[in-house]
């Protein structure tokens, strides 16, 4: 069954998985988020998640334009669909986004292989939200993870 966007986001995101980071490369930021998701209790095999995220990046960058990155993967060692958000203090020039602009806001999504419809729905909702300029500005100006978390929930 396909669930509604806000319900999916509520279930996938928690305040503990929202971060303000100071990484200096795409690889470092992705490793940071994989590590956080790997330790959140919903992933049985962090190494598999790491490999899946980077394999996906090798096919095509998940920089979707307008400073946004959406790395994502579906693997069987994830118990349920989860989301981590990082707002980096600086734009990352090496993200190789489709519009060639640096990436500063990253949403990492991990789901199970059998969750195709909800997974697509969540990615579509995130893409829609962050493509609004006022939402992006609000996330970049936020000073705390709680503020980012609340804003994302409110935007949906």
């Amino acid at each position: 069954m396909v669930e509604s966007g806000n319900h999916l986001l509520d279930a996938a995101l928690s305040p503990q998985r929202v971060f303000i980071t100071k990484e200096r490369s795409k690889e470092a930021l992705l490793n940071y988020l994989v590590d956080k998701l790997g330790h959140c209790g919903e992933v049985d095999d962090q190494q598999a998640l790491h490999q899946a995220i980077f394999t996906r990046e090798s096919l095509m960058s998940t920089g979707i334009g307008l400073g946004i990155g959406v790395p994502h993967a579906r693997i069987s060692s994830v118990r349920r669909m989860i989301l981590a958000v990082a707002v980096n203090d600086q734009p990352l020039e090496d993200y190789e986004a489709i519009d060639n602009h640096p990436v500063q806001i990253v949403f990492m999504v991990a789901g199970r292989p059998d969750q195709q419809s909800n997974y697509v729905r969540l990615l579509a909702v995130l893409s829609h939200v962050v493509k609004q300029p006022e939402n992006r500005d609000a996330l970049l100006k936020a000073t705390s993870t709680e503020e980012i978390y609340q804003y994302i929930r409110k935007s949906l």
Binding site: L59, M60, G65, I98, Q116, S117, V120, L123, S127
Partner: protein, 549 residues
């Protein structure tokens, strides 16, 4: 009793071995059963001998009841409405054709040998009457074995079902005339009365049983119970007919024909069940036919009668069919080929010869040899010969008219096929790195309901189906950055290429899957798509081809 069970075991098992061997030689299985009977019977090893044959006689009557009922079950009224006149015309033609040719020829030979006109006429009439009967059992067995269907098949079943009555009538009239000719005491009125009672009585009891069965079938909810009732009814038919000297085949045939026409839909599955149930009884019946035949040393001129009987009967049946078909304005197919399917001679002829053996035992043709013995010996020998020629000839006729293999159902086709026979080969593939925009293009440019998703090595790692694409139609903003690998469903090898189609279809139905990708188990390269809808379409197409539609 122990011996009888052992003999039944040897008979059925041996018969099946014979059938298997003959099928390998592309010869109808019924000849295999009879050949095994010959080997283990009176003319061979003697395992089934003079003691066992009478003990197994009730069994043969039961088999005749089964055969008669199944043949009757093929006689649907709608066919008679269309071709009834033609079938009756052909039946009269072939029966009378054999009667006159065999009667005249054997009569001449007997006159030449004995110099007695009455004895020659009596012998000729009896031989002619016996020769008019066609064996429905072995004829229909060939039609069933080769799943034959069509006008010729229907014509053959109808004619062999009807000509027993003609043979009985000719025999009754013939023996009366023969007895009169050789000076025996015979009351023609009494004989005609007996014949009338036999034919009408058998028919009426059969019709009554058929209606009774149709009522039982309508009210029975269990197919097992219906089958048990039917077998019970056939045992009753065989028993009553034996007790009252009625014709078992005719009675059972009338019951079968009544049932199929009274409740066609409910009785067809029942007839199928009976056919499966009757299989070992059938095998044993034909083994007994072979076992009963006794080839003893006979005077040379008797072999002349045998030879003429076989040749004359063949000519008489074929020419008679042609004349009957022409007179009744039958289609050319019936005119040219139906006669070829009427050569088999079986239980009715042997039974009539036994009766003639008693009726004519007092007529001496030569020193120490009576006409009754001549008839029994000659008919036994001719039965052996025509039982070898008859079924092969039936097969030839249905082969020539292309009716072999047409009596098939979807289930039969499905049983014959494997997944590889119906799968869509060389499917177009999608690479895991293809953007969704390219995926949508693939779907619009190819007539495929699903696509295998392959990695850089060409190995299939997932599948995208038209159903899974539905959720993406509304999410157009992700089309430019989502890849096929992001939305594919991981592949599950639920069906293999060499799996039987029936098994694969059942698996798919259980898993509620409409289509699946087939992979090479070693290389994991996609080799095809198995789609339930396409598979069903292929099966329907093959069915129509096989049925000649």
């Amino acid at each position: 009793m122990q011996d009888i069970l052992l003999i039944l075991g040897i008979g059925v098992f041996g018969g099946m071995m014979g059938a298997w061997l003959f099928q390998k030689l592309r010869i109808p299985q019924v000849i295999g059963y009879i050949a095994i009977g010959l080997i283990i019977g009176r003319s061979g090893l003697g395992i089934i001998g003079d003691v066992e044959i009478p003990a197994l006689r009730p069994f043969s009557y039961l088999a005749l009841a089964f055969i008669g009922f199944l043949v009757g079950g093929e006689l649907e009224g709608k066919i008679f409405k269309q071709y009834g006149k033609q079938f009756i015309g052909i039946m009269l033609g072939e029966g009378l054709g054999a009667f006159f040719v065999v009667g005249a020829g054997t009569g001449l030979i007997l006159w030449f040998i004995t110099g007695s006109i009455p004895a020659a006429l009596a012998g000729g009439i009896v031989f002619g009457a016996i020769s008019s009967a066609t064996d429905p059992a072995s004829t229909v067995d060939v039609l069933w074995e080769y799943r034959s269907k069509g006008l010729l098949t229907t014509g053959l079943i109808s004619v062999v079902a009807l000509d027993d009555a003609l043979a009985l009538t000719l025999y009754a009239l013939g023996t009366s005339v023969a007895s009169l000719l050789v000076g025996g005491e015979i009351n023609l009125n009494e004989l005609l009365m007996t014949l009338g009672v036999e034919l009408i009585g058998s028919g009426l009891i059969g019709v009554f049983c058929g209606f009774g069965l149709s009522l039982l079938v309508k009210h029975s909810r269990s197919s097992d119970r219906s089958l048990t009732l039917l077998v019970g009814c056939l045992l009753l038919i065989a028993g009553v007919c034996l007790k009252h000297k009625l014709d078992v085949i005719l009675c059972a045939m009338a019951a079968g024909a009544t049932l199929i026409n009274a409740s066609p839909h409910r009785s067809k599955p029942l007839l199928e069940s009976l056919r499966a149930f009757a299989s070992p009884i059938y095998v044993m019946f034909f083994v007994m036919v072979g076992a009963r035949l006794q080839l003893t040393s006979q005077p040379a001129w008797l072999w002349g009668i045998v030879a003429f009987y076989v040749v004359g009967r063949t000519i008489g049946k074929y020419a008679g069919t042609w004349i009957g078909a022409t007179t009744s304005k039958s289609p050319a197919l019936l005119k040219n080929y139906l006669g070829l399917g009427l050569f088999a001679q079986g239980g009715v002829a042997v039974g009539l010869s036994m009766m003639a053996g008693q009726h004519l035992s007092g007529v001496e043709v030569l020193d120490g040899l009576d006409l009754g013995t001549v008839v029994v010996s000659a008919v036994t020998a001719t039965t052996l010969l025509v039982q070898l020629i008859g079924p092969a000839s039936v097969k030839w006729a249905i082969t020539k008219t292309g009716e072999i293999g047409r009596n098939v159902t979807e289930e039969d086709i499905i049983k014959e096929l494997k997944v590889a026979d119906v799968m869509h080969t060389d499917p177009a593939t999608i690479r895991e790195g293809d953007l969704l925009t390219e995926v949508f293009n693939k779907f619009s440019n190819h007539d495929q309901l699903c696509f295998p998703v392959v990695n850089n090595d060409g190995a299939c790692i997932g599948v995208i189906s038209i159903d899974s694409l539905k959720s993406l139609f509304v999410e157009q903003e992700i089309w430019s950055w989502m890849l096929a690998g992001d939305v594919m469903v991981p592949i599950k090898d639920i069906v293999s290429v060499d799996a039987p189609l029936a098994e694969a279809m059942e698996t798919m139905t259980q898993m509620e899957a409409e289509e699946t990708i087939l992979r090479n188990p070693q290389s994991r390269l996609p080799v095809g798509i198995f789609d339930l809808r396409s598979a069903k379409r292929s099966v329907s197409k093959k069915l129509l081809q096989r049925q000649g539609v």
